[in-house]
């Protein structure tokens, strides 16, 4: 179809027209503020204004509307005496009355009982009143009458007689606190005051079971600033000893009855008694008022009734390593694995290791049993007794040497060619030092070894024989002997050592043994027997309170047995020095004895110089036979 030739012009004209229309609309908008303020659209409309609280009317011109009036908060508008709440048209101001609505002050009270009826509480509230005046307003078509606050009206005190009247109706028999009531009524401040008070009931406390152990698997001892941080310390295994108190019954505490304000007694129920339940490893004592452990072991609580049980023994189903940390347990410990370097295992019972022990320390008061190898480290069976037993050879040696010094002095004193005049002048110290150096020079070495056995802990150094060891070390080392005034002091030390040796040698309740397959570069101390059932012992130090039985070889190191030492081979072809010692009355038996092995019975020592087989080293009537 062919295009209309003026179509473009027509389209432009239409577009211009629409543009013009949009511009006109924007210019014609009136702001809402102008509408609110003026409230009139027509200049012929009537107007209202307020001046000094008086309403003024400007009637409308022809074509205009009468003005409207509306009250605001705290304002009263009446039309011919009738209160209006909404907007009304005003044609005659004489019909309209406007005035401010003051808020009156208020004082009120409320009496109520506490939940247990032991108190009557007086609650007072005081509200301040407010006075207003009508705000002046300029001429407007729709006039909102507003008020302005100008003064507060204080509340009045509460009439206390009203309070008493209400109290009477509450049937209160207990004494009324009139002073409190008067004060609350006059205070003009909000308050809650107890004006009648009875006695609150104190409820009874039920009895309970007080558990003396933690139910945690591990217990951490308090940190000691002096102790070095030990990364292997993961807390002590929670364990108890036989006889230890596990729980006690705390009896119930009866309460006190109450008294209401109406004179009624509030009874109090008696507290309930608690009961201890025990299972295996625990028993009740004191007529059920306490529970104690009947065995060493781990305490646990079973079930909802919290039955107290003590589980004997601890089983560690892995190596003892940095993950498990040190083990410290009251009872037996069984380790299904190895004990690795740096770890410490302590048990008041026995310690069983199915694997090997590498550079660790194991303390089993009733014995230590290692299935495989012991490489490095320390094994101690029998507690402190084992430590003391291991000192016996040193103590006996020292005692004998001190006796020797005394004997020499006594003999020389009877010698007519020996003068003691210098000793009387300067004391016996010079003589003692001379004899020690000339005859008993190894005494200083023994003293030093004993001194080096002292515990590092400063508190433990004050226990046992250590204070005397420390004194002896000072007295008999270097120039120390020169300070000794009399040979009698030597006798005192000798006697002291004799008593200590006696105590150490006394029979123990039950010796604790050590058994291992193989031992290398380790220290073993036992109050009982030491048995090495595998290939042998290499460069180790063994102290046995009973027999030392080494099935294989024993090369290097020192072996002490309190009764007997039995070995397959003592020493080696390489002539490594080995010391084998028993006290008088003991014996040493070996299938092979190599050169450079020193055998000792009591103070008699003999160094072997040639290979021997089937040897038996004994003493009879103080004569040593090989």
């Amino acid at each position: 179809m062919k295009r209309f030739p003026n179509l473009d012009k027509i389209e432009n004209t239409v577009a211009n027209f629409f543009e013009d229309l949009e511009t006109e609309d924007f210019n014609k908008k009136i702001s809402s503020k102008e509408v609110a303020d003026n409230c009139y659209i027509n200049e012929n409309d009537g107007l209202l204004s307020i001046t000094d609280g008086k309403l003024n009317l400007k009637p409308p011109k022809p074509g205009g509307d009468w003005p409207v009036i509306r009250p605001c908060e705290n304002v009263s508008i009446k039309l011919r005496g009738k209160e209006i709440k909404g907007p009304i048209i005003v044609k005659n101001v004489g019909d309209i009355e406007i005035k401010p609505e003051d808020k009156s002050a208020e004082s009120k009270f409320h009496l109520y009982l506490s939940s247990d009826n032991t108190k009557v509480i007086l609650e007072t509230e005081f509200f301040q009143g407010e006075k207003f005046y009508i705000k002046n307003k300029e001429e407007q078509h729709e006039l909102i009458v507003e008020s302005v606050f100008y003064e507060a009206i204080p509340p009045s005190p509460i009439d206390r007689n009203l309070v008493y009247e209400q109290l009477e109706q509450m049937d209160v028999v207990l004494e009324i606190n009139r002073t409190a009531i008067n004060s609350a009524c006059k205070s003009l401040t909000n308050s809650q005051t107890v004006v009648v008070e009875g006695i609150e009931m104190i409820p009874s406390t039920d009895g309970r079971v007080k558990y003396m152990f933690s139910d945690s698997e591990r217990i951490y001892r308090p940190e000691n600033e002096k102790e070095e941080l030990d990364f292997f310390y993961k807390g002590d295994i929670n364990s108890v000893e036989k006889g230890e108190v596990l729980a006690e019954v705390v009896p119930p505490v009866n309460g006190v009855p109450g008294l209401t304000v109406k004179g009624d007694v509030i009874p109090v129920p008696e507290g309930k008694h608690a009961e201890i339940y025990v299972g295996e490893g625990a028993e009740l004592v004191n007529e059920g008022q306490a529970a104690i452990a009947t065995i060493d072991g781990r305490p646990i609580l079973r079930g909802g009734k919290k039955v107290i049980c003590v589980i004997p023994g601890l089983v560690v189903k892995s190596d003892v390593d940095i993950n498990t940390g040190h083990i410290n347990f009251k009872g037996d410990v069984r380790i299904i694995g190895n004990v690795l370097e740096g770890l410490i295992v302590k048990a008041t019972g026995r310690v069983y290791v199915t694997g090997s022990v590498f550079h660790a320390e194991i303390y089993g008061e009733n014995g230590v049993y290692i299935n495989n190898n012991l490489i490095g480290g320390l094994i101690c069976a029998g507690g402190e007794a084992a430590e003391y037993k291991s000192m016996l050879p040193l103590l006996e040696g020292l005692k004998n040497k001190l006796q020797g010094v005394r004997s020499i002095f006594d003999q020389l004193r009877d010698n007519k060619k020996f003068s003691t005049h210098d000793l009387e002048v300067r004391g016996h110290g010079y003589f003692i030092k001379l004899v020690m150096e000339m005859r008993f020079s190894d005494m200083f070495r023994d003293l030093k070894r004993l001194y080096e056995m002292m515990p590092r802990d400063s508190d433990k150094k004050k226990e046992g024989i250590w204070p005397v060891v420390e004194l002896m070390y000072t007295k008999f080392s270097g120039h120390g002997p020169l300070q000794i005034k009399s040979i009698d002091e030597i006798t005192k030390y000798k006697n002291f050592l004799g008593r200590i040796i006696e105590y150490i040698c006394e029979d123990l309740d039950e010796p604790a043994d050590v058994k291992a397959g193989y031992c290398q570069n380790a220290v073993i101390k036992a109050t009982g027997d030491v048995v090495i059932g595998g290939s042998g012992v290499y460069h180790s130090k063994i102290h046995s309170g009973g027999k030392a039985n080494i099935k294989g070889f024993c090369r290097g190191g020192e072996i002490y047995g309190d009764t007997k030492i039995i070995a397959g081979e003592l020493g080696s072809r390489a002539n490594v020095h080995t010391l084998i010692m028993v006290p008088m009355g003991g014996e040493i038996i070996a299938h092979k004895l190599y050169p450079n092995v020193t055998l000792g019975i009591g103070k008699h020592k003999r160094k072997n110089t040639e290979l021997k087989k089937q040897i038996r080293f004994t003493s009879e009537d103080e004569i040593v036979k090989l």
Partner: protein, 101 residues
């Protein structure tokens, strides 16, 4: 009192000690030995048979000489035929280091 009689022999120098060797008289022997020229001396012999008394100070003095002259390659020997003096030397342990002539 201590009297010291010195005799020089081919094998060494002999000091006969007569009287008491103790804390009071030891200085006499000390002074004598200090004056002695040890250059050509190979052996020193202390003869104690005529001593009436010896005390621990005297014993210590003899031990001191032994240690001192050993460093100068001089052999120190104690010659004694008195049983009581010998008992003293044995008991104190001097015979473990200083032999009889």
């Amino acid at each position: 009192m201590l009297k010291v009689e010195k005799t020089e022999k081919d094998e060494g120098v002999y000091f006969d000690l007569i009287g008491e060797l103790d804390m009071h008289t030891g200085g006499i022997l000390d002074n004598l030995l200090q004056k002695e020229d040890m250059t050509n001396i190979k052996k020193l012999v202390f003869v104690l048979s005529k001593l009436n008394f010896i005390d621990s100070t005297g014993i210590g003095q003899l031990i001191r000489y032994y240690r001192e002259y050993a460093g100068q390659d001089v052999e120190v020997v104690i010659d004694n035929e008195n049983d009581d003096i010998e008992e003293v030397l044995e008991l104190i342990g001097l015979r473990q280091i200083i032999q009889d002539d």
